[in-house]
């Protein structure tokens, strides 16, 4: 069982830290919501003693757009453009899960080729999201140029998404019933070019970040998550894998076409910020490999969409389901309840950051140096819209 080191200060009474701000020993410090070291729009209410954090509260609500409520007031097809907006760096997971949940309760089977295209979309989006993450992570440790390189390469990926789906950030591609378009001519070639560029970038990042004495000194040993914390805090995804857990939805509960792909679950052992970086770094290569594997199955001549009932008055019989997928941050899920009307009764979005950024972060941050708070947050890859859909 993990117990944060509270030996210095303050005293714990009835499970609560007794912090007397007037004592002059502590300082209250807000990190965020506008802070380069905070992922997205959230804020940390830190109590520091010297340069060490002794208490932390996570505050969200700066990005609440009420998606779940909005979806209850819109027709099934009208939610399709909404869901992607829950997550900017990786919208496709939302698109896929919403479509998959609706298809399941409505009893719609989608063509195999649509599944391949969705799988391709999901892996490309994973790579894109990781590129943005590694840039932010490097930035949190003061390695600015890597942030610029990585975001540039993310832009190359967005170029591909743009020519494929018509949109750079919000692709709105995986519509219930299948997908909206085939791949454009010459896409495979341009995709391969980009993948090679990214591989080159990765080798450079390895030199500049992974083999960087300063970075290592700060990241190794930062935010260690012990194995027994994993279930207790609901930890999933790369963070759990860095602690040695062989947990990956793609492998454990295969969806789309992942069971036809050749890959292994990447795990680590040390479970600190550096180990988590290593796991994600290797998963980026894994994604590149998966994209190449998927491209062999893409056939533009095949059917990509199952005819839906008229979407303007599409009613779905009463039912409920939970579908999940592996996002870059771990298990992402949609719990959809229908009541036979034209509108969903409830759409609940389960994001991994919900536990990572609140319960886990609040405990993990104790005794961390203020300068490493940003690094710790990015190593958890927290993302506020998942908390406050």
């Amino acid at each position: 069982m993990f117990t944060p080191d509270r030996s210095k200060y303050p005293e714990i009474v009835d499970g609560k830290a007794v912090i007397d701000l007037d004592s002059g020993k502590y300082l209250k410090l807000w990190q965020g919501p506008q802070h380069p070291g905070v992922t997205g729009n959230m804020s940390l209410e830190l109590i520091v003693c010297g340069d060490e954090v002794v208490d932390c509260k996570t505050h969200v609500g700066y990005l609440h757009r009420g998606f779940e409520k909005l979806m209850e007031r819109r027709k099934f097809i009208q939610n399709f453009p909404i869901v992607c907006r829950i997550c900017v760096p990786e919208p496709d997971t939302n698109e896929y899960l919403y479509a998959a949940a609706v298809e399941e309760v409505a009893g719609i089977k989608i063509p195999e080729q649509a599944k391949w295209l969705r799988t391709l979309n999901m892996e490309m989006s994973r790579l894109t999201s990781y590129l943005m993450w590694i840039g932010g992570h490097a930035g949190a440790f003061g390695l600015g140029p890597i942030g610029q390189w990585a975001v540039t390469h993310r832009d190359y990926m967005l170029d591909l998404f743009e020519e494929w789906t018509g949109g750079r950030v919000y692709h709105m591609y995986m519509i219930p019933g299948g997908v909206r378009n085939i791949l454009p001519d010459g896409f495979d070639r341009r995709l391969e070019d980009t993948l090679q560029k990214i591989e080159k970038l990765m080798s450079e990042i390895e030199k500049v970040m992974l083999n960087n004495a300063v970075f290592k000194m700060r990241a190794v040993g930062l935010g260690i998550i012990t194995k027994d914390m994993i279930d207790r805090y609901g930890v999933v995804g790369p963070i759990a894998r860095a602690a040695g857990m062989k947990r990956d939805v793609r492998k454990n509960s295969p969806y789309l076409m992942y069971e036809h792909l050749d890959f292994d679950i990447i795990t680590g052992t040390k479970s600190d910020a550096y180990e988590r970086l290593l796991v994600r770094f290797r998963e980026m290569f894994q994604s590149i490999d998966l994209i190449r594997q998927i491209m062999k199955y893409i056939d533009n001549s095949k059917n990509i969409h199952t005819k839906l009932p008229n979407v303007l008055h599409w009613k779905i019989p009463a039912g409920e389901t939970y579908v999940k997928a592996e996002s870059t941050r771990g298990e992402y899920g949609y719990f959809v309840v229908t009541d036979g009307s034209e509108l969903p009764r409830r759409v609940y979005v389960r994001g991994p950051s919900y536990s990572h950024a609140v319960a886990l972060l609040e405990d993990l941050i104790i005794n961390v140096n203020i300068a490493d708070v940003a690094g710790l947050m990015t190593s958890l890859h927290t993302y506020p819209p998942e908390i406050e859909r």
């Binding site: 609440h64 805090y233 609901g234 899920g333 389960r350 919900y354 886990l360 406050e388």
Partner: protein, 177 residues
């Protein structure tokens, strides 16, 4: 999964078992037995992961449906536990002692649905909505459109016509052939 359901039936009153997929099952349990059932599943059936906890407003039945989604990493099974609670006096026993993140879910449910979880840490602190003075917004009877019309100002200058009535006014006004 069937064996687990059998074992559960020996100790708990469960109903409406629905196997939605090979790896996803839903079942309903009485409010009084819910926490012990969930503890049993966690401690003896290896449902060690709390995937989520959320509510569905069954306003027509004056009930809230809580759904606890649990996951077993050994068999890769998801199990959704439905618990119906009274909507008028919405209160449920807390499970924050079982999972750390449960407190966050319960805090959100208190704020968004008005479901109380006595004893849950910081359950009364506002989570997302600071300074909210209306009914809990995720309740079905909270009308977002009405709220936004009352709270914000629509920009003037927009008007739309329904093709059907517009054509009537142009082509065959009342009584015209």
């Amino acid at each position: 999964m069937k064996e687990i359901i059998q074992r559960l039936k020996q100790q708990f009153t469960i109903s409406n078992v629905n196997q939605q997929r090979v790896d996803l099952t839903f079942l309903s349990v009485k409010k009084e037995q819910a926490v012990s059932l969930i503890s049993y599943l966690r401690d003896f059936e290896k449902f060690s992961h709390l995937v989520f906890l959320t509510a569905v407003d069954r306003v027509e039945d004056i009930q809230f449906q809580l759904t606890y989604m649990l996951h077993n990493y050994n068999t890769h099974q998801d199990l959704g536990i439905r618990v119906l609670i009274d909507r008028e006096k919405a209160e449920m026993a807390s499970i924050h002692h079982l999972w750390k993140q449960a407190g966050t879910y319960q805090r959100e449910l208190k704020e968004m649905f008005g479901i109380d979880f006595p004893g849950s840490p910081r359950v009364d602190e506002s989570f997302i909505l600071e300074g909210w003075d209306n009914i809990p917004p995720m309740r079905r009877d909270f009308d977002t459109k009405k709220y936004s019309e009352e709270t914000y100002f629509p920009r003037p200058g927009r008007e739309s016509h329904d093709p059907e009535s517009y054509m009537k006014s142009k082509l065959y006004p009342e009584g015209d052939a």
